[in-house]
Symmetry: C2
Subunit: 225 residues, 2 copies
């Protein structure tokens, strides 16, 4: 293994760089989808809807890199945790890319109608979800457990905003049949943004696993038993 060690270190470094690049793309696509919705910009909505190919290619490439690293270098301990976690994070980031498409699809249907209301909480959810993803990826690179734990704490905020948006839109709907379809689209968008936050949470949990080898997932469930 000593002979191969420099190659391994390089490959692992390159793997992290590619994952981070993919994370940046996923983040940017969520931001673009929400911003296009707020601006009611059909051109940019269409761009997000059709722009999934780069993330999909990275998804395959990163999986392939992980597989080859495992096969060639048979890493152990923290290096093994990094590679296995990268397989999982890669899956989360690919889903975030899909969710950006889902947001843009719902936005396309939304802007076909008159605005239901000024959009304030949805962009706020978008900002929170994007920053959670950003911080989770930073925590991954710097192996910073504290940053990762702060990501976990913000997930409840997204959940609360999602519920608030739901209740508010239901009130808007009563007696205004024309607003029904666009309001349902906003409800769906709030769910997609909540899911982006869930994926950021997954990434943050993987970071804690990499650094401390401790699995913090499902903690509330297990504590409740």
């Amino acid at each position: 293994m000593t002979k191969e060690a420099p190659h391994f270190a390089e490959e692992l470094e390159e793997l992290k760089k590619r994952l981070l690049f993919m994370g940046g793309l996923a983040e940017e696509r969520v931001r673009a989808a929400v911003s296009a919705l707020v601006m009611r910009d059909r051109g940019r909505i269409a761009e997000v809807m059709s722009g999934d190919a780069s993330i999909n290619r990275l998804h395959l490439e990163i999986d392939d890199r992980c597989f080859k690293i495992l096969a060639l270098y048979q890493p152990v301990a923290v290096d093994l945790r990094i590679v296995v976690s990268t397989v999982k994070i890669n899956k989360d980031l690919e889903r975030v890319g899909d969710l950006a498409v889902n947001i843009a699809e719902a936005a396309e249907r939304y802007v076909a109608h008159e605005p239901v209301k000024p959009l304030i909480d949805l962009p706020r959810m978008g900002d929170i979800a994007q920053s959670m993803l950003h911080d989770a990826l930073n925590a991954f690179v710097s192996r910073n457990v504290e940053t990762a734990e702060k990501v976990l704490a913000r997930d409840d905020l997204l959940d609360a905003l999602k519920d608030q948006i739901f209740r508010e839109l239901l009130t808007h709907l009563l007696g205004e049949p024309r607003k029904i379809e666009p309001a349902v689209q906003l409800i769906l968008i709030s769910r997609h943004l909540e899911r982006v936050g869930d994926h950021a949470t997954n990434v943050a949990e993987d970071v804690i696993f990499i650094v401390e080898g401790r699995d913090v997932r499902h903690q509330t469930v297990d504590q409740a038993r």
Copy 2:
């Protein structure tokens, strides 16, 4: 490796059994959630909502098994593909368990109102999603690519039903404000079931990767470029 080979084969067999057991639980929970919705059975809805702990425990256990197998036996070729794919399938099955909870949560809100309409397409979506998951897991165990490919073909059917349910419910809503909230819950449930189908699709794609070493994900995207 020769000395350790029997242990490795046993561990791998046990890993597959546990994953299959988890898959059976996930399937059953989706079935229970949809059936409780159709029967308007609040007791069983509550059971699904609170019954996620077994799947969550299996999620952690299976991840841990994969990690230990990689660290101890350093599998290669098809065995490595099985273990890496198990990490991914495990994540898909855990999400299916979450989606069963999401379905039950929406069902709880739905049954608090008068029925919007007879539920025919949603149970149909539930049956399709459940059978996709079932067949994908069977394909995993038997490494049957043909079965896996049939799973992929059924995903479009779920998408079409989801869109049909959406259009139909919007029509129901017009002029009937009391039906708005329950109808939105049915729309959300149809989305959750569509996602169950997506996870089954992921599992089927992993099976094709295990058997043939070929990655069929994002195929339409890549063909389009």
